[in-house]
Protein backbone atom coordinates (compact mmCIF):
# COMPACT_ATOMS: atom_id res chain seq x y z
CA UNK A 1 0.00 0.00 0.00
CA UNK A 2 1.43 3.40 -0.94
CA UNK A 3 1.93 6.02 1.72
CA UNK A 4 -0.89 8.09 0.31
CA UNK A 5 -3.37 5.24 0.52
CA UNK A 6 -2.27 4.44 4.05
CA UNK A 7 -2.89 8.03 5.06
CA UNK A 8 -6.38 7.88 3.56
CA UNK A 9 -7.32 4.72 5.47
CA UNK A 10 -5.99 6.29 8.67
CA UNK A 11 -8.23 9.29 7.97
CA UNK A 12 -11.21 7.01 7.43
CA UNK A 13 -10.53 5.21 10.72
CA UNK A 14 -10.38 8.53 12.52
CA UNK A 15 -13.61 9.65 10.86
CA UNK A 16 -15.40 6.47 11.95
CA UNK A 17 -14.19 6.79 15.53
CA UNK A 18 -15.20 10.46 15.71
CA UNK A 19 -18.66 9.80 14.25
CA UNK A 20 -19.26 7.13 16.89
CA UNK A 21 -17.93 9.23 19.78
CA UNK A 22 -21.28 10.72 20.96
CA UNK A 23 -22.83 7.23 21.12
CA UNK A 24 -19.72 5.84 22.83
CA UNK A 25 -20.20 8.44 25.56
CA UNK A 26 -23.99 8.06 25.73
CA UNK A 27 -23.66 4.44 26.88
CA UNK A 28 -21.20 5.29 29.67
CA UNK A 29 -23.74 5.09 32.54
CA UNK A 30 -25.21 1.95 31.03
CA UNK A 31 -21.82 0.22 30.75
CA UNK A 32 -20.87 1.18 34.30
CA UNK A 33 -24.18 -0.15 35.59
CA UNK A 34 -23.82 -3.46 33.70
CA UNK A 35 -20.31 -4.01 35.10
CA UNK A 36 -21.16 -3.11 38.68
CA UNK A 37 -24.44 -5.03 38.62
CA UNK A 38 -22.62 -8.21 37.57
CA UNK A 39 -20.25 -7.93 40.55
CA UNK A 40 -23.06 -7.12 42.98
CA UNK A 41 -25.11 -10.08 41.76
CA UNK A 42 -22.29 -12.48 42.57
CA UNK A 43 -20.36 -12.77 39.27
CA UNK A 44 -16.62 -13.30 39.64
CA UNK A 45 -14.39 -10.67 37.98
CA UNK A 46 -13.49 -12.89 34.96
CA UNK A 47 -17.18 -13.76 34.46
CA UNK A 48 -18.15 -10.09 34.69
CA UNK A 49 -15.51 -9.20 32.07
CA UNK A 50 -16.66 -12.00 29.74
CA UNK A 51 -20.13 -10.43 29.53
CA UNK A 52 -19.10 -7.28 27.55
CA UNK A 53 -16.16 -9.12 25.93
CA UNK A 54 -18.21 -11.95 24.40
CA UNK A 55 -21.93 -11.22 24.82
CA UNK A 56 -21.48 -7.50 24.03
CA UNK A 57 -25.17 -6.55 24.32
CA UNK A 58 -26.32 -4.04 26.94
CA UNK A 59 -29.98 -5.01 27.18
CA UNK A 60 -29.19 -8.73 27.33
CA UNK A 61 -26.50 -8.20 29.97
CA UNK A 62 -28.76 -6.05 32.15
CA UNK A 63 -31.72 -8.44 32.12
CA UNK A 64 -29.83 -11.74 32.20
CA UNK A 65 -27.62 -10.80 35.17
CA UNK A 66 -30.78 -10.51 37.27
CA UNK A 67 -32.17 -13.80 35.93
CA UNK A 68 -28.94 -15.68 36.69
CA UNK A 69 -28.94 -14.17 40.17
CA UNK A 70 -32.53 -15.35 40.69
CA UNK A 71 -31.46 -18.89 39.66
CA UNK A 72 -33.89 -18.88 36.73
CA UNK A 73 -33.92 -22.06 34.59
CA UNK A 74 -31.37 -22.11 31.74
CA UNK A 75 -34.14 -22.28 29.10
CA UNK A 76 -35.74 -19.10 30.52
CA UNK A 77 -32.40 -17.26 30.46
CA UNK A 78 -31.58 -18.28 26.88
CA UNK A 79 -35.09 -17.65 25.55
CA UNK A 80 -35.17 -14.19 27.14
CA UNK A 81 -31.79 -13.37 25.55
CA UNK A 82 -33.07 -14.62 22.19
CA UNK A 83 -36.19 -12.42 22.29
CA UNK A 84 -34.19 -9.36 23.38
CA UNK A 85 -31.75 -10.00 20.50
CA UNK A 86 -34.48 -10.62 17.91
CA UNK A 87 -34.40 -7.03 16.65
CA UNK A 88 -30.87 -7.67 15.37
CA UNK A 89 -32.18 -10.11 12.75
CA UNK A 90 -33.67 -7.08 11.02
CA UNK A 91 -30.36 -5.23 10.97
CA UNK A 92 -28.64 -8.19 9.33
CA UNK A 93 -31.49 -8.46 6.85
CA UNK A 94 -31.23 -4.75 5.97
CA UNK A 95 -27.50 -5.04 5.29
CA UNK A 96 -27.60 -8.50 3.70
CA UNK A 97 -27.30 -7.44 0.07
CA UNK A 98 -24.24 -5.29 0.78
CA UNK A 99 -22.32 -7.70 2.99
CA UNK A 100 -23.25 -11.25 2.01
CA UNK A 101 -20.69 -11.60 -0.78
CA UNK A 102 -17.75 -10.22 1.19
CA UNK A 103 -15.05 -12.50 2.66
CA UNK A 104 -15.80 -13.92 6.12
CA UNK A 105 -13.32 -11.58 7.86
CA UNK A 106 -15.60 -8.64 6.97
CA UNK A 107 -18.93 -10.40 7.51
CA UNK A 108 -17.82 -11.96 10.79
CA UNK A 109 -16.29 -8.83 12.27
CA UNK A 110 -19.04 -6.43 11.17
CA UNK A 111 -21.64 -9.00 12.24
CA UNK A 112 -20.12 -9.20 15.70
CA UNK A 113 -20.09 -5.39 15.94
CA UNK A 114 -23.63 -4.91 14.59
CA UNK A 115 -25.24 -3.24 17.61
CA UNK A 116 -28.21 -0.85 17.65
CA UNK A 117 -25.67 1.96 17.75
CA UNK A 118 -23.65 0.85 14.70
CA UNK A 119 -26.85 0.24 12.76
CA UNK A 120 -28.10 3.71 13.71
CA UNK A 121 -24.82 5.24 12.52
CA UNK A 122 -24.23 3.19 9.39
CA UNK A 123 -27.55 1.66 8.41
CA UNK A 124 -28.10 4.09 5.54
CA UNK A 125 -28.28 3.25 1.86
CA UNK A 126 -24.71 4.21 0.89
CA UNK A 127 -22.94 2.63 3.86
CA UNK A 128 -20.64 -0.40 3.53
CA UNK A 129 -19.98 0.19 -0.17
CA UNK A 130 -16.36 0.15 -1.15
CA UNK A 131 -13.40 -0.63 1.04
CA UNK A 132 -13.22 2.76 2.76
CA UNK A 133 -16.85 2.63 3.86
CA UNK A 134 -16.16 -0.82 5.33
CA UNK A 135 -13.10 0.44 7.21
CA UNK A 136 -15.21 3.37 8.43
CA UNK A 137 -17.91 1.02 9.79
CA UNK A 138 -15.31 -1.28 11.32
CA UNK A 139 -13.56 1.64 13.05
CA UNK A 140 -16.87 3.03 14.35
CA UNK A 141 -18.08 -0.36 15.56
CA UNK A 142 -14.67 -1.29 16.95
CA UNK A 143 -14.39 1.93 18.95
CA UNK A 144 -17.85 1.27 20.35
CA UNK A 145 -16.77 -2.24 21.40
CA UNK A 146 -13.63 -0.96 23.15
CA UNK A 147 -15.55 1.79 24.95
CA UNK A 148 -18.27 -0.62 26.04
CA UNK A 149 -15.59 -2.93 27.44
CA UNK A 150 -13.87 -0.03 29.21
CA UNK A 151 -17.12 1.32 30.75
CA UNK A 152 -17.96 -2.19 31.98
CA UNK A 153 -14.51 -2.59 33.55
CA UNK A 154 -14.94 0.77 35.32
CA UNK A 155 -18.28 -0.57 36.58
CA UNK A 156 -16.64 -3.81 37.73
CA UNK A 157 -14.02 -1.87 39.69
CA UNK A 158 -16.63 0.56 41.08
CA UNK A 159 -18.99 -2.29 41.91
CA UNK A 160 -16.32 -3.97 44.02
CA UNK A 161 -16.04 -0.89 46.25
CA UNK A 162 -19.28 1.08 46.03
CA UNK A 163 -22.78 0.18 47.21
CA UNK A 164 -25.57 -0.73 44.79
CA UNK A 165 -25.33 1.81 41.96
CA UNK A 166 -29.02 1.50 41.08
CA UNK A 167 -29.70 3.33 44.35
CA UNK A 168 -28.09 6.48 42.92
CA UNK A 169 -30.25 6.24 39.83
CA UNK A 170 -27.91 4.85 37.14
CA UNK A 171 -30.81 2.68 36.02
CA UNK A 172 -32.69 5.88 35.26
CA UNK A 173 -30.05 6.76 32.64
CA UNK A 174 -30.80 3.47 30.90
CA UNK A 175 -34.56 4.04 30.98
CA UNK A 176 -33.99 7.46 29.43
CA UNK A 177 -31.72 6.07 26.70
CA UNK A 178 -34.52 3.68 25.73
CA UNK A 179 -37.14 6.46 25.91
CA UNK A 180 -34.99 8.52 23.54
CA UNK A 181 -34.81 5.58 21.11
CA UNK A 182 -38.45 4.44 21.34
CA UNK A 183 -40.52 7.66 21.48
CA UNK A 184 -39.39 9.07 18.07
CA UNK A 185 -40.17 5.70 16.46
CA UNK A 186 -43.87 6.01 17.38
CA UNK A 187 -45.02 7.38 14.04
CA UNK A 188 -48.23 5.41 13.61
CA UNK A 189 -51.02 3.72 15.56
CA UNK A 190 -49.46 0.25 15.34
CA UNK A 191 -46.24 1.44 17.03
CA UNK A 192 -48.27 3.25 19.69
CA UNK A 193 -50.27 0.09 20.43
CA UNK A 194 -47.00 -1.93 20.64
CA UNK A 195 -45.45 0.50 23.14
CA UNK A 196 -48.58 0.84 25.32
CA UNK A 197 -49.17 -2.94 25.50
CA UNK A 198 -45.47 -3.63 26.22
CA UNK A 199 -45.42 -0.98 28.96
CA UNK A 200 -48.64 -2.13 30.64
CA UNK A 201 -47.87 -5.86 30.55
CA UNK A 202 -44.24 -5.51 31.61
CA UNK A 203 -45.21 -3.58 34.77
CA UNK A 204 -48.01 -6.02 35.57
CA UNK A 205 -45.82 -9.12 35.13
CA UNK A 206 -42.91 -7.51 36.99
CA UNK A 207 -45.23 -6.94 39.98
CA UNK A 208 -46.36 -10.57 39.71
CA UNK A 209 -42.66 -11.52 39.62
CA UNK A 210 -42.89 -13.67 36.48
CA UNK A 211 -39.47 -14.68 35.20
CA UNK A 212 -40.70 -14.78 31.59
CA UNK A 213 -42.46 -11.41 32.02
CA UNK A 214 -40.24 -9.57 29.57
CA UNK A 215 -40.59 -12.24 26.89
CA UNK A 216 -44.38 -12.44 27.23
CA UNK A 217 -44.84 -8.65 27.28
CA UNK A 218 -42.61 -8.16 24.24
CA UNK A 219 -44.15 -10.96 22.16
CA UNK A 220 -47.77 -9.98 22.97
CA UNK A 221 -46.96 -6.32 22.24
CA UNK A 222 -45.33 -7.22 18.90
CA UNK A 223 -48.37 -9.27 17.95
CA UNK A 224 -50.80 -6.47 18.93
CA UNK A 225 -48.78 -3.98 16.85
CA UNK A 226 -48.68 -6.39 13.93
CA UNK A 227 -52.46 -6.99 14.10
CA UNK A 228 -53.17 -3.25 14.31
CA UNK A 229 -51.07 -2.56 11.22
CA UNK A 230 -52.75 -5.43 9.37
CA UNK A 231 -56.23 -4.28 10.32
CA UNK A 232 -55.44 -0.72 9.30
CA UNK A 233 -54.06 -1.72 5.91
CA UNK A 234 -57.11 -3.90 5.22
CA UNK A 235 -59.52 -1.05 6.10
CA UNK A 236 -57.46 1.22 3.86
CA UNK A 237 -57.74 -1.28 1.01
CA UNK A 238 -61.52 -1.45 1.44
CA UNK A 239 -61.74 2.34 1.49
CA UNK A 240 -59.67 2.66 -1.67
CA UNK A 241 -61.64 -0.01 -3.47
CA UNK A 242 -64.89 1.76 -2.48
CA UNK A 243 -63.57 5.00 -3.94
CA UNK A 244 -62.79 3.24 -7.19
Amino acid sequence: MSLNKKMTSMGVVLKGVLAMLPLNLAVLPWGILCGSLAIQRGFSVPEAIMMPLLVFAGAVQLVVIELINDNAPLATILFTAFIISSRHFLYGLALRDKLKDLPFKWRGSLGFLLTDELFALAGTANAYQGKFKLIYALAAGGSFYLCWLLWNIIGIIAGSYLPDLTSIGLDFAIAVTFIALVIPSITNLAMLVTVVVAGFLSVLLKLLDWELGLVISALVAMYCGYLTAKKQSSTNTIKTSEQI
Binding site: P22, L23, A26, F43, E47, V55, F56, A59, V60, V63, V64, L74, I77, L78, A81, F82, I83, S85, R87, H88, F89, L90, G92, L93, L95, R96, L99, K100, R107, G111, L114, I168, G169, F172, A173, I174, A175, V176, F178, I179, A180, L181, V182, I183, P184, I186, A190, M191, A198, L201, S202, V203, L207, L214, S217, A218, A221, M222, Y223, A229
Partner: protein, 104 residues
Protein backbone atom coordinates in the same frame (compact mmCIF):
# COMPACT_ATOMS: atom_id res chain seq x y z
CA UNK B 1 -21.91 -22.92 35.31
CA UNK B 2 -22.08 -19.15 34.82
CA UNK B 3 -19.22 -19.39 32.29
CA UNK B 4 -21.23 -21.89 30.25
CA UNK B 5 -24.30 -19.62 30.31
CA UNK B 6 -22.17 -16.66 29.19
CA UNK B 7 -20.78 -18.65 26.25
CA UNK B 8 -24.29 -19.73 25.21
CA UNK B 9 -25.46 -16.11 25.49
CA UNK B 10 -22.56 -15.00 23.30
CA UNK B 11 -23.63 -17.57 20.69
CA UNK B 12 -27.20 -16.18 20.74
CA UNK B 13 -26.19 -12.53 20.33
CA UNK B 14 -23.67 -13.32 17.57
CA UNK B 15 -26.18 -15.58 15.81
CA UNK B 16 -28.86 -12.87 15.81
CA UNK B 17 -26.45 -10.32 14.32
CA UNK B 18 -24.59 -12.53 11.87
CA UNK B 19 -27.33 -14.88 10.53
CA UNK B 20 -28.55 -12.73 7.66
CA UNK B 21 -25.06 -11.69 6.61
CA UNK B 22 -24.26 -15.31 5.76
CA UNK B 23 -24.16 -15.96 2.00
CA UNK B 24 -26.15 -19.21 2.07
CA UNK B 25 -29.22 -19.08 4.27
CA UNK B 26 -30.73 -22.28 5.62
CA UNK B 27 -34.11 -20.56 5.99
CA UNK B 28 -36.15 -18.03 4.08
CA UNK B 29 -37.80 -15.17 5.89
CA UNK B 30 -41.14 -13.97 4.58
CA UNK B 31 -42.65 -10.48 4.43
CA UNK B 32 -44.95 -11.34 7.35
CA UNK B 33 -42.07 -12.35 9.66
CA UNK B 34 -40.15 -9.21 8.69
CA UNK B 35 -43.21 -7.08 9.45
CA UNK B 36 -43.68 -8.85 12.81
CA UNK B 37 -39.97 -8.31 13.65
CA UNK B 38 -40.27 -4.59 12.88
CA UNK B 39 -42.14 -4.27 16.20
CA UNK B 40 -39.34 -6.00 18.11
CA UNK B 41 -37.21 -2.98 19.07
CA UNK B 42 -40.03 -0.79 20.52
CA UNK B 43 -41.64 -3.80 22.25
CA UNK B 44 -38.45 -5.15 23.87
CA UNK B 45 -37.00 -1.77 24.84
CA UNK B 46 -40.34 -0.57 26.30
CA UNK B 47 -40.75 -3.79 28.29
CA UNK B 48 -37.38 -2.95 29.87
CA UNK B 49 -37.73 0.80 30.53
CA UNK B 50 -41.30 1.07 31.81
CA UNK B 51 -40.76 -1.22 34.86
CA UNK B 52 -37.58 0.76 35.75
CA UNK B 53 -39.78 3.88 36.04
CA UNK B 54 -42.80 2.40 37.83
CA UNK B 55 -41.56 -0.53 39.90
CA UNK B 56 -39.24 0.11 42.82
CA UNK B 57 -38.55 -2.64 45.36
CA UNK B 58 -41.45 -4.66 43.94
CA UNK B 59 -43.93 -1.84 44.56
CA UNK B 60 -45.93 0.09 42.00
CA UNK B 61 -44.81 3.70 42.44
CA UNK B 62 -47.05 6.36 40.91
CA UNK B 63 -46.35 8.95 43.58
CA UNK B 64 -45.93 12.42 42.08
CA UNK B 65 -42.72 12.83 44.03
CA UNK B 66 -41.20 9.75 42.36
CA UNK B 67 -38.15 11.27 40.63
CA UNK B 68 -38.17 8.40 38.10
CA UNK B 69 -41.70 9.30 37.00
CA UNK B 70 -41.05 13.05 36.79
CA UNK B 71 -37.73 12.54 35.00
CA UNK B 72 -39.29 10.11 32.52
CA UNK B 73 -42.09 12.59 31.77
CA UNK B 74 -39.48 15.23 30.91
CA UNK B 75 -37.63 12.64 28.78
CA UNK B 76 -40.75 11.61 26.86
CA UNK B 77 -41.69 15.22 26.07
CA UNK B 78 -38.11 16.10 25.04
CA UNK B 79 -37.75 12.97 22.89
CA UNK B 80 -41.12 13.61 21.24
CA UNK B 81 -40.32 17.26 20.47
CA UNK B 82 -36.61 17.05 19.62
CA UNK B 83 -35.95 13.47 18.41
CA UNK B 84 -32.46 13.94 19.89
CA UNK B 85 -30.90 11.26 22.10
CA UNK B 86 -28.39 13.68 23.63
CA UNK B 87 -30.87 16.47 24.39
CA UNK B 88 -33.24 13.92 25.95
CA UNK B 89 -30.45 12.44 28.08
CA UNK B 90 -29.17 15.91 29.05
CA UNK B 91 -32.47 17.47 30.15
CA UNK B 92 -33.97 14.47 31.92
CA UNK B 93 -30.77 13.49 33.78
CA UNK B 94 -30.44 17.11 34.99
CA UNK B 95 -34.05 17.14 36.18
CA UNK B 96 -33.63 13.72 37.79
CA UNK B 97 -30.42 14.73 39.62
CA UNK B 98 -32.02 17.95 40.91
CA UNK B 99 -35.09 16.02 42.13
CA UNK B 100 -32.90 13.44 43.89
CA UNK B 101 -31.31 16.26 45.87
CA UNK B 102 -34.46 18.24 46.63
CA UNK B 103 -36.96 15.45 47.33
CA UNK B 104 -34.94 13.32 49.72
Amino acid sequence: MTILIIILLACITFFSRYLFLHPKLPLRIGAKTTHFLSFSAPAVLTAIWVPIIFVQDNNFNTSLTNPYLLGATVAIITAYKSHSVYLTLGTSLTVFALLQFTLI
